[in-house]
């Protein structure tokens, strides 16, 4: 049994919230730059240049890349040999978010009640997902998620008869409907399988994977490439002004599912797709 004081979790998350909002991950930087290299629309080229300039300015001047510093999505992979001491783990996570968003001058975008509204003032609560894994380490991933793109996401409970074509059409339809709203170029996280709740989480987790990575299963890796190609033929382009670069990447994750169903969730993310991981 390894003991970890929860204050370590708080300190780490505080630091990661600030850093994730200021530094765009290297895979996204690389992805956007290579899209710029093969962009053929003149307006689109200018927009991509400005998007690149923006994340570079944010990086050097320590300013948030985007003003929507998001809801703090926190993923914990907790080794089963770990024993937390010093208080509640989840309280420690929320405290890290509270401190990071306050000390880092990040925007507080969380409403205390979905209908009655009212800003909580410190961007808590965080959206926490915990997985128990073998070992004695804790892997923390902080992924601030903006809602311009979150609002354009969709989930559908397909019947198995809809088949692969049904999934393909749904992904394209969701991107088409999103149009300019999620700040294209976008990243498309797709979950297929599982059940109603797990498929949404799969789509979100797909967004955590580097944008230039592929599903380990060649069937889905090929589907990722095919869907990226199809999306980039839509012509929506950066900011929706027309162009090739509608998406930087498509990541697909799957789970086994029920004989009667084929759930699919499409979680749309933007050119400011942020995520940072650290192992304690």
């Amino acid at each position: 049994m390894r003991e970890i004081d929860v204050s370590v979790i708080t300190d780490t998350i505080e630091k990661m919230c600030i850093s994730a909002n200021v530094h765009l991950p290297k895979d996204m930087q690389k992805g956007i730059k290579s899209c710029r290299a093969c962009e053929d629309g003149p307006i689109a080229q200018t927009i991509l240049d400005q998007i690149i300039q923006n994340f570079e300015v944010a990086d050097t001047e320590q300013v948030p890349i985007c003003q929507d510093t998001g809801m703090a999505c926190i993923f914990l992979e907790v080794g089963q040999e770990v024993h937390f001491t010093g208080g509640s783990l989840y309280d420690a996570v929320h405290e890290g978010v509270r401190r990071g968003y306050t000390k880092g001058y990040l925007r507080k975008s969380v409403e205390a009640d979905p209908i009655r509204r009212g800003n909580t003032g410190d961007n808590t609560p965080a959206m926490i997902t915990t997985d128990i894994v073998p070992g004695d380490k804790v892997k923390i991933t902080v992924a601030p998620k903006g809602f311009g793109s979150e609002n354009m996401s969709a989930l559908r409970m397909f019947k198995p008869s809809a088949g692969l074509q049904g999934i393909k059409d749904f992904i394209l339809e969701t991107v088409e409907k999103a149009g300019p709203n999620p700040c294209p170029p976008i990243v498309v996280g797709v979950g297929i399988g599982g059940n109603f709740d797990h498929v949404a989480l799969l789509a979100k987790k797909a967004l955590l994977r580097p944008v230039d990575s592929h599903n380990e299963d060649p069937f889905y890796a090929q589907l990722e490439d095919e869907m990226l190609e199809k999306i980039n033929q839509l012509g929506i382009g950066p900011q929706g002004f027309g162009g090739r670069t509608t998406a930087v990447g498509v990541n697909i994750e799957t789970l086994p599912t029920h004989i009667a169903g084929m759930p699919c969730a499409v979680n749309i993310s933007c050119h400011v797709t942020r995520h940072e991981s650290e192992v304690i």
Partner: protein, 187 residues
């Protein structure tokens, strides 16, 4: 076409702006998002005036990050304008003809723009760090309790925007994509 404009956005200026123009705005703009729009229109119904002069005004749909000490404002890019569609026609009818945001607008908003010579400008969504550099002054003028959604009076210098929908209803989201696809398919 590239244009440099001094605000406020008069009817005369608005009529000269066309879809796709790259415009650099100079002068005063006001920030308001969902919560501020809701409160402004609710209060108006109760006879309480809007906290700024709406005549020829431009509203920027933004909720900036807090300013670090020694800076004017934090990251300040546009939010999705469609969420303001519910209130925008009324704001336009009160003279606030300029809007800065990102994303599609409703038929009702476009109709109001045509009637009152409104212009919908787009700033690059997600380029908040870059856009903040063009904001030279920021003063919180109302609804402080709304935090990032409070109304701020911003002074901007060469703030870069593109005309997404002009006062005649021409729409860059439709035209830009169409033109790109036509050019691509010709090759």
């Amino acid at each position: 076409m590239e244009r440099h404009i001094d605000l406020p956005l008069t009817e005369e200026i608005a009529k000269t702006l066309h879809m796709g123009d790259n415009v650099y705005l100079n002068g005063v703009i006001y920030t308001a998002r969902d919560a501020a729009h809701e409160r402004m229109t609710d209060q108006l119904a109760e006879g309480i005036p809007i906290p700024f002069d709406t005549t020829d005004a431009t509203i920027y749909y933004v909720g900036p990050t807090p300013a670090r000490p020694g800076t004017v404002i934090g990251s300040a890019g546009p939010t999705t304008a469609g969420r303001m569609d519910k209130w925008a026609p009324q704001m336009i009818s009160l003279g606030a003809r300029g809007m800065i945001g990102k994303g599609a607008r409703s038929k009702e908003v476009i109709e109001a723009m045509k009637k009152y010579h409104g212009v919908y400008f787009g700033a690059i969504g997600g380029a908040g760090a870059l856009l903040a550099k063009c904001i030279v002054d920021c003063e919180l003028i109302a609804y402080e309790d709304l935090g990032p959604e409070a109304i701020r009076k911003l002074t901007v210098k060469d703030f870069p925007v593109t005309v997404l929908i002009d006062s005649e209803g021409n729409n860059l989201y439709e035209q830009g994509r169409k033109e790109y696809l036509e050019a691509r398919d010709k090759e």
